[in-house]
Amino acid sequence: MNRIEIAFQNKPIFMPYFPLGYPDLETSIDVIEVLANNGADLIEVGLSFSDPLADGPVIQKATQVALEHGITIRKSLTAIAELRKRGVTIPLILMGYFNPMLAYGLEKFVKDAREAGVDGFIIPDLPLEEAAEFQALVGDMPLIQMLAPTSPNERMETIARNARGFIYLVSVTGVTGARTSISEGLADLIARVREHTSVPVCVGFGIGTPEQAKEVGEMADGVIVGTACVRTIGGSENPVETAKEFAKSFKDEMAN
C-alpha cells in the first residue's frame, strides 16, 4: 500500500493546504510538520505562481508573499525532503500551476519530486485535455483529477473512470475561498461521482470551519481546507502554535 492508500484507511480524512514560503520558508516547513503531527491525514503543499487564476484573494496574497521571499520549485522540493527527514510520513501532494513546472523541466520536476518524497500532484490548470504529457511521466505518482459542479455526466464519467489516488471535487463554481454555507447540491454531486469510480472522493473549495468539515466529511472521503488554513495560520502571531490548534480543531470535530 502506498502512503495515499494508507491515509484513506480511516475516512473521512482531513486535508489542509499550505503554501511553502509563507510567511517565510522556515516557518512554512514548521507549519506543515505541525499540521502533520496534529491531525492532518494528507497535506496539499502549495507551489507559488505569479498568476494563480483559480485562487481567491487569500491564497493569491500568501503565494505572492512567498514569491517575494524568493520561493522556487527547487527550494520547495528541498523543503519536502526536509519534512521527510523530520519524520513526516503522511502523503504530501504538490499543488501548483503548470508554467513553473514547465520552466523547471517536466521530467526533472517529476524525478526530483519523487526523490524528495512527494506522493502526487494537483495542477489546477491542467484539465484532462492537456494532462497526457504530464501523465506519461508520473508513473505511480497520481496526477489528481479535478471535477466541478459544471462537469456534465459524460465528462464526469470519463474523468472519474481514469482517476487515480483520489478525486478532487470542487464543491462550488468559483475560485478558492471560504463560503458561509455548504452547497446544497453537494450530496447529489458526490453521489454522481461515486457512480463512476471507486477511488476516494474529496471535497474542496469553500470549507472554512470544523463544523463545515464535519458536515462534508459525512458525505465525502476527504475534506480539503485551504483558504481558512492559510488565513488563520498565516495571519497569526505564532503560526506554528496556531497550526497545531487549527489541525486539532478540525480533526477532533471530524472524528466526533
Binding site: F49, A54, N99, P124, D125, A148, T150, P152, V175
Partner: protein, 398 residues
C-alpha cells in the same frame, strides 16, 4: 474528450484551464461552430458590421508619408475609422451575438488600452447584455478617457489591484469572475489568446479586416501588397489582417511587438525579440511564447502602449513565427512616438500608440524598398485615447 475544431496551432494553444471552465469552453466551441454554419447568424453579424460598425473600413493611400520616406508606396487599412475607434469592435460584436445564442445574460471582459473594454461595453449596450470590464489600475490611469466611455455605455469598470495592475492581472480577474459565474456569464476575450476556442473565434471575427483589405488592394491598387505590417500585442488585429494574405505566399507578413525601453533594458513586451527572457510556457489557458523568469514566474512587461503591454503572444503567431510564414520584429517606445507624430503631420491621422508601432516598422522598411513596391499597414486604432500619454511623453517637444 475531443474538440470540434483543432485546439492547437502546431505545439501551441490548447486548453490549460480549471475543470470548472472546460464545459463552458466546450459549449462556446459548439455555439461558434453552429453559428458559422447558420446563414442567419452570418447575415446578422455582417449586417451589424455594415450598419453599426461602418464597414468596410477604407483603404487610404498615404501619399505624403510615402513621398517623405522615398521608397515603397504605403496604404493604410483604416480600422481606426471603425465604430469605437479600433478593430476590437469586430470581435466584440461577434462574440456578443454568440452570447445571445447561448442564452447568457452577462459578459465580463479584460482591457488594457481600454479599446476592447469600450468595444465590449458597446456590443453589450447594443444587444442588451450586462457588462463588467476588468482593468488594471495602472491602465485606468493612463487610458482615462476610455474608462469614462465604458461607464457612459453602461458597463461597470472594476479596477484590478493585484500583481502588476496591468492587462495580465485584468485577465486573471476576468477569468476568476467567469469561473465563479460561469452559469450565466460569458468571458468576452478581446485578443487571439487564451484557451481554445478563443484564438480561433477571435481570428475568424477579425478576418474581415484581411478579407476587405485584400479585395481593396486588388480593386484600388490592382495588385497585392509586397508586405503587410501590423502591431502584435496578443495579436488580434495582426491575425485578422494576416489571415487575408496567408495563402498568398509571396506576400510578406510582419508583426511588430512592443520594444518598450529597448530589448536590452529588459523593460519591453517583445516575446519573440528576447531570446533570454521568453520561452514557451503556459499562461491564461494557452501554450505559447511567454516572457518569464527562469523559475517560470510571468515577467513584468513594459510598453508606452497599454494594448501591447502583455507577457504572452497569441498561439497562432507562435506557429507562424516557427514556420517563418510571418516575421516578427519590435519597435521601441521612442520609435513608436516618433512614428505617431510623423503620421499626424504627413497624413492628418492620429493613430493609436499600438498602431504607431506598425508605422514605426514602415518608417524603417519603406526607404529600403523600390517605389513600385507596396506596403499595407493595418492601422488598428485611433489615438484619441492616448493623448494624455503622448502629452506626458513628448511634453515640451509637442
Amino acid at each position: 474528450m475531443s474538440t470540434l475544431l483543432p485546439p492547437k496551432f502546431g505545439p501551441y494553444g490548447g486548453q490549460f484551464v480549471p475543470e470548472t471552465l472546460m464545459p463552458a469552453l466546450i459549449e462556446l466551441e459548439k455555439a461558434f461552430v453552429d453559428a458559422q454554419k447558420d446563414k442567419g447568424f452570418r447575415k446578422e453579424f455582417e449586417g451589424l458590421l455594415a450598419s453599426f460598425v461602418g464597414r468596410p473600413t477604407p483603404l487610404t493611400y498615404a501619399k505624403r508619408l510615402s513621398e517623405q520616406l522615398g521608397g515603397a508606396q504605403i496604404y493604410l487599412k483604416r480600422e481606426d475609422l471603425a465604430h469605437t475607434g479600433a478593430h476590437k469592435i469586430n470581435n466584440a460584436l461577434g462574440q456578443a451575438l454568440l452570447v445571445k445564442r447561448m442564452g447568457k445574460k452577462r459578459v465580463v471582459a479584460e482591457t488594457g488600452a481600454g479599446q476592447h473594454g469600450v468595444a465590449s461595453a458597446t456590443a453589450a449596450a447594443l444587444l442588451g447584455l450586462e457588462c463588467v470590464v476588468y482593468m488594471g489600475s495602472v491602465d485606468i490611469t493612463r487610458q482615462e478617457p476610455n474608462v469614462f466611455r465604458m461607464k457612459l455605455l453602461g458597463a461597470e469598470v472594476r479596477p484590478v489591484e493585484s500583481g502588476t495592475k496591468t492587462l495580465k492581472d485584468a485577465i486573471n480577474e476576468a477569468i476568476r469572475d467567469w469561473v465563479t459565474n460561469v452559469g450565466d456569464t460569458h468571458y468576452l476575450l478581446g485578443s487571439a489568446l487564451g484557451p481554445h476556442p478563443y484564438p480561433t473565434i477571435v481570428r475568424e471575427f477579425q478576418s474581415v479586416i484581411g478579407i476587405e483589405a485584400r479585395e481593396q488592394m486588388l480593386r484600388d491598387v490592382g495588385r497585392l501588397p509586397d508586405t503587410v505590417i501590423a502591431c502584435v500585442g496578443g495579436g488580434s488585429n495582426a491575425i485578422g489582417v494576416f489571415s487575408g494574405f496567408v495563402d498568398d505566399e509571396h506576400v510578406e507578413l510582419v508583426g511588430v511587438e512592443a520594444g518598450g525601453a529597448g530589448i536590452e533594458t529588459g523593460r519591453h513586451a517583445a516575446r519573440f525579440g528576447d531570446a533570454a527572457g521568453a520561452r514557451v510556457g503556459v499562461i491564461h489557458g494557452t501554450r505559447t511564447y511567454v516572457l518569464q523568469d527562469e523559475d517560470g514566474q510571468i515577467a513584468e512587461t513594459h510598453s508606452v502602449s497599454a494594448g501591447l503591454d502583455y507577457a504572452a503572444v497569441g498561439p497562432e503567431h507562435a506557429m507562424m513565427r516557427d514556420s517563418e510564414r510571418a516575421f516578427y520584429t519590435s519597435a521601441t517606445d521612442t520609435e513608436a512616438l516618433s512614428a505617431f507624430q510623423m503620421l499626424c503631420h504627413t497624413e492628418g491621422i492620429i493613430p493609436a500608440l499600438e498602431s504607431s508601432h506598425a508605422v514605426a516598422e514602415v518608417i524603417k522598411r519603406a526607404p529600403k524598398m523600390r517605389k513600385d513596391q507596396v506596403i499595407l499597414v493595418n492601422l488598428s486604432g485611433r489615438g484619441d485615447k492616448d493623448l494624455n500619454t503622448v502629452i506626458t511623453e513628448l511634453g515640451q517637444n509637442l
